[in-house]
């Protein structure tokens, strides 16, 4: 599906979402609609987003944004899904039962940003050594007096 067709299709399917053009199509979802929308994106035969090739998070200081990049290996179309999260208590449903690869992507986001993934099968640190729970070094306000120079 080309980008324009995909945009029309997505507008029909998710009336509550806002869609922006860019290098890829960007779809902004609310936390509430998020899980059901992701299931539709994966399972609807004409969309068939079967490959989640990137899942990460951005700290905007006022809020966090979860970013999901997905691709259909059948139709070769791509989509970026963005979800705004509360910075104080960031919580979102896991997508690891839809795309297995999300399991460790989410563990990475959990250790670096402290996002809590609900219903994740094995939410623990991925790369950071023991003792880093709750420290979230990729948050903008992270401070480390030993290793970091305060500018």
């Amino acid at each position: 599906m080309i980008k324009e067709e995909l945009k029309i299709k997505l507008t029909e399917l998710f009336p509550s979402a806002t869609i922006e053009d860019g290098e890829w199509l960007n779809m902004n979802l609310a936390v509430g609609d998020f899980l059901s929308a992701m299931e539709v994106l994966r399972n609807k035969p004409e969309l068939n987003f079967d490959y989640l090739f990137c899942e990460t998070c951005v700290d905007w200081k006022t809020h966090l944004t979860m970013v999901y990049h997905m691709d259909s290996t059948q139709y070769r179309h791509q989509l970026v899904v963005k979800v705004k999260l509360d910075r104080v208590k960031p919580e979102i449903e896991t997508v690891s039962h839809i795309w297995r690869t999300a399991e460790f992507h989410e563990r990475e986001v959990y250790e670096l940003f402290g996002v809590n993934f609900l219903n994740h099968p094995d939410l623990r640190l991925l790369i950071l050594p023991d003792g880093w729970e709750g420290k979230n070094p990729l948050r903008k306000d992270f401070e480390d007096p030993v290793n970091m120079i305060k500018l």
């Binding site: 790369i127 050594p129 070094p137 992270f142 480390d144 290793n147 970091m148 120079i149 500018l151």
Partner: protein, 193 residues
């Protein structure tokens, strides 16, 4: 011209080929007069086997220095060894992070004496240009193991690495301890001043 002569003599005396000793010809052949320590250091310096150890982009330059175009075998760094037991010199080619530090320390401890260390590039000498403000990077590999030669650059070119290896050879051939080298440096400085 005098300077040119001086530099060429200096290079000759410090070149890897210069053998430490004098040959006194005699009717039946010759007598070699030398010191056994000098011969050992000469042999050591011309057969330095580096450890296969690269943690970042500097490793790419190190591989380039090893391959046909630069070919560090010319200087005796013949075979890179994949085990510390058989290596003489460890080239720290890249960033050392907090998780890597104990591994580097263990590799160094496993190497047989005499062993030498080259810190290649900005990350290995000081933590690097990008990593001054991060939680994960060691600010210089000399916090973990002692370093003999530092190379500047990000990453240094293969020529710079080969120069560092030749500097290490000269250092070995002098056969001085770290304290003696430091003292020598002070004296050289006073001569200039």
């Amino acid at each position: 011209m005098a300077i040119k002569k001086y530099m060429s003599d200096k290079f000759q005396s410090e070149s890897p080929l210069a053998f430490p000793g004098e040959v006194h010809p005699s009717p039946t052949g010759g007598v070699l007069v030398t010191r056994i320590d000098d011969v050992i250091n000469w042999a050591r310096s011309n057969s330095l086997w580096p450890l296969v150890f690269g943690t970042s982009c500097c490793a790419i330059e190190m591989m380039s220095a090893a391959s046909a175009k630069y070919d560090w075998s010319r200087f005796g760094f013949e075979v890179a060894r994949a085990t510390p037991r058989q290596a003489d010199v460890i080239i720290i080619a890249g960033t050392i992070v907090n998780k890597m530090a104990p591994v580097l320390r263990r590799l160094y401890d496993q190497m047989a004496d005499p062993k030498y260390v080259i810190a290649m590039g900005a990350c290995a000498t000081s933590g690097g240009p990008f990593f001054y403000n991060t939680y994960s990077v060691i600010k210089g590999a000399d916090h973990v193991i002692p370093v003999d030669v530092y190379v500047a650059g990000c990453p240094p070119r293969p020529e710079a690495l080969i120069h560092a290896l030749m500097t290490l050879q000269q250092k070995i051939k002098k056969g001085l301890t770290r304290e003696q080298i430091r003292e020598e440096g002070k004296q050289d400085y006073q001569k200039v001043v």
